[in-house]
Symmetry: C2
Subunit: 427 residues, 2 copies
Amino acid sequence: MLNKDNNRTVVSRRSLLGKGLALGAVAAGGGAPKAAEAGNPANLPPNVPEWSKTLGDGVAVRAYGKPSKHEAHVIRRDVEWLTASRESSVSFTPLHELDGIITPNGLCFERHHSGIAELDPHDYRLMIHGLVDKPLMFTLEDLERLPRVNRIYFAECAANSGMEWRGAQMNACQFTHGMIHNVMYTGVPLKVLLEEAGVKTNAKWLLLEGADSAAMTRSLPLQKALDDCLIAFRMNGERLRPENGYPVRICVPGWEANMWVKWLRRIEVGDQPWHHREETSKYTDLLENGKARRFTYVMDAKSVITNPSPQAPLKHRKGITIVSGIAWSGRGKIARVDVTLDGGRNWRTARLDGPVLDRSMARFYVEFDWDGQELFLQSRAMDETGYVQPTKDELRKVRGVNSVYHNNGIQTWRVSPEGEVENVEIA
Amino acid sequence: MLNKDNNRTVVSRRSLLGKGLALGAVAAGGGAPKAAEAGNPANLPPNVPEWSKTLGDGVAVRAYGKPSKHEAHVIRRDVEWLTASRESSVSFTPLHELDGIITPNGLCFERHHSGIAELDPHDYRLMIHGLVDKPLMFTLEDLERLPRVNRIYFAECAANSGMEWRGAQMNACQFTHGMIHNVMYTGVPLKVLLEEAGVKTNAKWLLLEGADSAAMTRSLPLQKALDDCLIAFRMNGERLRPENGYPVRICVPGWEANMWVKWLRRIEVGDQPWHHREETSKYTDLLENGKARRFTYVMDAKSVITNPSPQAPLKHRKGITIVSGIAWSGRGKIARVDVTLDGGRNWRTARLDGPVLDRSMARFYVEFDWDGQELFLQSRAMDETGYVQPTKDELRKVRGVNSVYHNNGIQTWRVSPEGEVENVEIA
């Protein structure tokens, strides 16, 4: 009956009740709890919880709201041994604690090179100079008088999953894949600003520079800037957060997040790349033959199962079970995600649910009847260009294991009969 | 050149620089600021701000992030004289401080009848009983083992703009229109739960009951429950916030938010509505003839200009100016929004930007060249059913002015030559 007029993957009644989802049936004769009768507290049964008997906090006591105290474990985390200091380090999004495709601003991963620069928006300036007809300086208010757009994009650090090149290492989805967030950005197309300044015909590259004390810099091809880059000042409706570039960062859709310079203060227009630190000693991919790939901008299609995962084990021992995960591609929309329960012998196509947008996270689910035996879970993303997410071994054959960047290989989680999950590789 | 390969409304170079956007040109010969040279602070010019010279906070110091200290004014606000107590009251979303279509969780409006119920998720139960084959009790973990979906929906209180029936009154967009939020909900279709319980053939209505001490109740037609209602446990990816029903509320897409019962603990299946307080003395619309409209569930198409508005005046005196606002409809997608600058004499079609989704907020913009004279700004939404947002006077002719609910009339903002904005009505 449930499937009759519904073409989505839903579970029929028999499969749920028959397959280990032990829903508590209300005891016969026990009757249903009655609504508390107003004005007669004596009518309340003794087991009515405190929250149904007393007034709670009034409105706007929490003028800017926070999560429940029961969700205090849902936080960004760093890995102390991973970097020499916390000012030049990373904290990871708790992907295993999220669903859907929007990352709440308070949980978006951070990657800083000199800590969180705390800019005063009144003193903020963005300069555009170099090979332009007219160098320009913009205040934040200037930027907000230019036509703006709203786009949901993922931002992924090139080093996401970087620890896994040499084998399964980080036993947590948050640490293997948590250098990604997906929010709605609001900003002005960079093209609008460049047209105002008047780009000279010999211009080919831009230098992007941050206002943090690391003065983060990257070279950006002019064509990408004209195609789709945004000078962004909002995420998920509100102002950028300090750790994500308040008041202004650049969005470089589909490209590695290191290029999404935060606290953006300067754009220089030139005719060649600058070869600064972040595109020479860092963010290049050293191959086995001693050569390095450089300017590896695009984040290839990738996916990961977020639940179950090492930090989110299964709490039941068999029966109806949901696998949930995320997929994304720097080349366009996700077209399909396949999931295997047995390490790649058999694959099934996952249900994509929620908006599937260009260069945005997509959410996928597989519902299945777990027999309680060991599982080897993997997901494999395909994007609209036909690109298929490779295995880690396929990547290693081409790239070797010297790099920390651009590991978009298929992730394997082993689920034990007890529901515990660990990061493994299967030969 | 700017418009050549782009079919969006963007402003050509001449129109921006020619029309009062006084961008600061960089002084000739002044040169561009150089990137701070690492290791040689003495090279920094004296006017380099502190944030470009010192390390900021390291990662995960703010394990759950907060907005910048410069955004402390971006908060929900209540109106002290509006209600007898803050436990049975409302706080409003600061719409004039937001952009795009996602409301951050910390800014979603609240409406409580007995304050914020603080449930412990481990003790949470949802009971389904009444005209069912098998009464059932669900834990939160049970709900999370059922197939779930992700949908971006607006939730609007039926009383939104309710103070305006008798004329312009609240001089703030936050208070005239701020009882609305728009987030991505994750939840299980209610249909799945009802199929599990087995609804009897004579069933026609559901009673929804909250676990707060007001035991909030509403009657819901069974057909709506089967069509599209969600038993939701997440908003924007993370758990519901306490003030929005943690751990479980119901989403009733397109219908008045009073029916979106928070802290949902009980669903009773019956054959007729219950006629409880919230659908008799409240949430009915008293007409001039003494009769009342009841079960007025659907939120009709509506829109409002959020910027400029009384709390967000124009800071410039003429030139390129952006009007930004939101539109939504409980009957489907927004098809079009028109904007007038002169109180309805001339209309232009706004640019919708960002996802335009079924029963979700849509964002619109109009860019225009302000001559510095008085403006009378209005927006008018049309949805995909062909419904056109009415004027307030058109509404009053049909409904009178006795009700506080379902005022979706066109809002007028007067902008003075000084850029100040006030809530007015024009005859």
